[in-house]
Amino acid sequence: MTTLAHRPSSASPRRVRRLKEIGLGYLLVLPALAIFAVFTFYPFVHNFKLAFYQTPPVPGLPAHYVGLHQVTQVLSSSSFLESLSTTFIFVALIVPISLIAGLALAVVAHRKLRGMSVYRMIFSSTVVSSVAVAAVVFGTLMNPIVGLLPWLGINPTPPLLENTTWALPSVALMTIWQFLGLSFIIMSAGLQSVPEEVLEAARIDGATAWTRFWRVTVPMLSPTIFFGVVVGTIFAFQSFGQIDILIGAQNAAYRHVDVLIYNIVNTLTQDNNPGAAAVMSIALFLITLVLTLLQLRFLERRVQYAD
């Protein structure tokens, strides 16, 4: 009797504390997890449901179940395939140029010179520009009347941003400028982790600056470059605002600049077709997933190096 009465009272403070800790743990993670549940995981799963239901062309009628029919229909549609190839071209225009430019800037800014912090700030600066600001700025620069092109003697008809050939590269140019800041920041951080001693050893061995760059810096920087490629690809893949502002659906060249997200948004808001939009967004997710997994593998490698 006495033992029974004693046991709980001697064990309970610790158990109560343990239970309190567990309760507190769940309480603290609850707000974040609730937001994730409602605004990340639920809509993610719901996409698959949307993909299986087709919205009738007449508004007001209920969507009906069509199974995989809509998925195959959308994925094989010329609209989707053209968007996909446009997006890939867009990415290919942006990523190499902005990464090479970012690396070049980082190398030049790596020397210890007076006033370098000002230059570094300027080189990183485009990272704070929003897509809308960059679009307004470049839209003006490329404007056929008030822009600088007539002065430079470049005056294509139709104007650059309505030109089926030049609209995509023009939007890419703006995006390169916008991504350059982040590219520089990533490359600079990578350069700072290349040990001075290794470069010094190569210098003593008589390697020229050129050889040192290609044989020491670039190989040691390869994880950073890889990281930059992934980040840049995701950045370019998620482009939307610049197309919306610089091109717009009324534009003659719009079919040639119809990147994936622009297509998804128009399918949802203009065509009122959430089913087709959901199918495309699942495709977008799968592409991003592959990229993110590559990025995670790189992070793991980095962590192993550091250990």
Binding site: S125, V128, V136, V137, L148, I186, Q192, I245, L284
Partner: protein
């Protein structure tokens, strides 16, 4: 001008350089000319990068009839500050900025709170499924917002929050990146400190507020700056979740306002550019003051 500063810098940095020319050895002279070359390269690069913004500032200060002149003016000799007040009032920039400020402040504050709480739990508390739940938080990083906005729009609309501040901020009140960043910072805090604080009678809440968060300040600052930048510059969500609703006008943020502005001021590019400069200004201030924190948050994934 930059070359002048460059030579001045070398002269003051290295007293030997001021010696009579005859005694300057060729290696040193070569080093000095390399330095001048570096500054030249840096300056050209800086000019190219800043040029679009510079020309926008110039154009935003021109009279409308000066735009499109050949050759284009490269300096505003008679700055028209009136363009800024036109953008501010007729262009509704003041209203757009207010919307952006409210949305951004809400998102930043909420992300800090939810991230600190969750990261603290993952770093300091033991509870079943802790690891799994942390991985769930990380998994959100793999689902881009562009994939979830379709259903989020339906959710927010059915809550009656289309075109409201709640609707603008709601999906972004928590962030997997923030939880990851702060958990890392909390894990750096020595366990002994936690034990000592407990013996001093500190409960979890007091330890979190008085010890953990202050010690993780660099990461908290990095998250704050990053969240501000991301929220202020958002485009897709504010575009789809705002619009006329009943009698209330669209609750445009400044980014969406810029799109409106180039539509309504198509013939006054100077006014549209004034708007763009106003929208950029808070971020320029952010960069000038918090460059270190910004770089820290942006490279959090790249460098350990």
């Amino acid at each position: 001008m930059p070359i002048d500063t460059a030579t001045a810098a070398t002269a003051s940095a290295d007293p030997a350089d001021t010696a009579p020319l005859a005694r300057v050895n060729p290696a040193r002279r070569r080093r000095r000319s390399r330095k001048v070359g570096s500054y030249l390269l840096l300056t050209v690069a800086a000019i190219v990068i800043l040029f679009p913004i510079y020309i926008s500032v110039v154009d935003s200060l021109l009279k409308s009839d000066q735009l499109g002149r050949q050759p284009p003016p490269f300096f505003p000799f008679h700055p028209q500050w009136g363009n800024y007040s036109v953008a501010w009032t007729q262009g509704h920039l003041s209203a757009y900025l207010k919307n952006s400020a409210i949305m951004t402040a809400t998102i930043v504050a909420a992300q800090l709170v939810t991230s600190i709480l969750a990261a603290y739990a993952f770093a300091f508390l033991r509870f079943p499924f802790r690891r799994t739940l942390f991985l769930v938080c990380l998994a959100t990083l793999m689902i881009p917002f562009e994939v979830t906005f379709i259903t989020n729009l339906t959710t927010v609309t059915s809550l009656g929050w289309f075109n409201t501040y709640q609707g603008l901020a709601l999906p972004f009140l928590a962030t997997g990146f923030g939880i990851f960043l702060l958990r890392q910072a909390f894990l750096q805090i020595p366990r002994d400190l936690k034990e000592a604080a407990r013996l001093d009678g500190y409960g979890h809440w007091r330890f979190m507020a008085r010890v953990a968060v202050p010690l993780a300040r660099p990461s908290v600052a990095a998250l704050t700056v990053f969240a501000f930048l991301a929220a202020w510059n958002q485009y897709l969500w504010p575009l789809v979740v705002t619009g006329p609703r009943g009698t209330s006008p669209p609750l445009d943020t400044v980014q969406i306002g810029l799109k409106e502005l180039i539509g309504t001021q198509a013939n006054n590019v100077n006014v549209a550019l004034a708007g763009a400069i106003i929208a950029l200004l808070p971020l320029v201030v952010l960069l000038l003051i918090f460059q270190k924190q910004l770089v820290r948050s942006l490279t959090a994934g790249a460098v350990k």
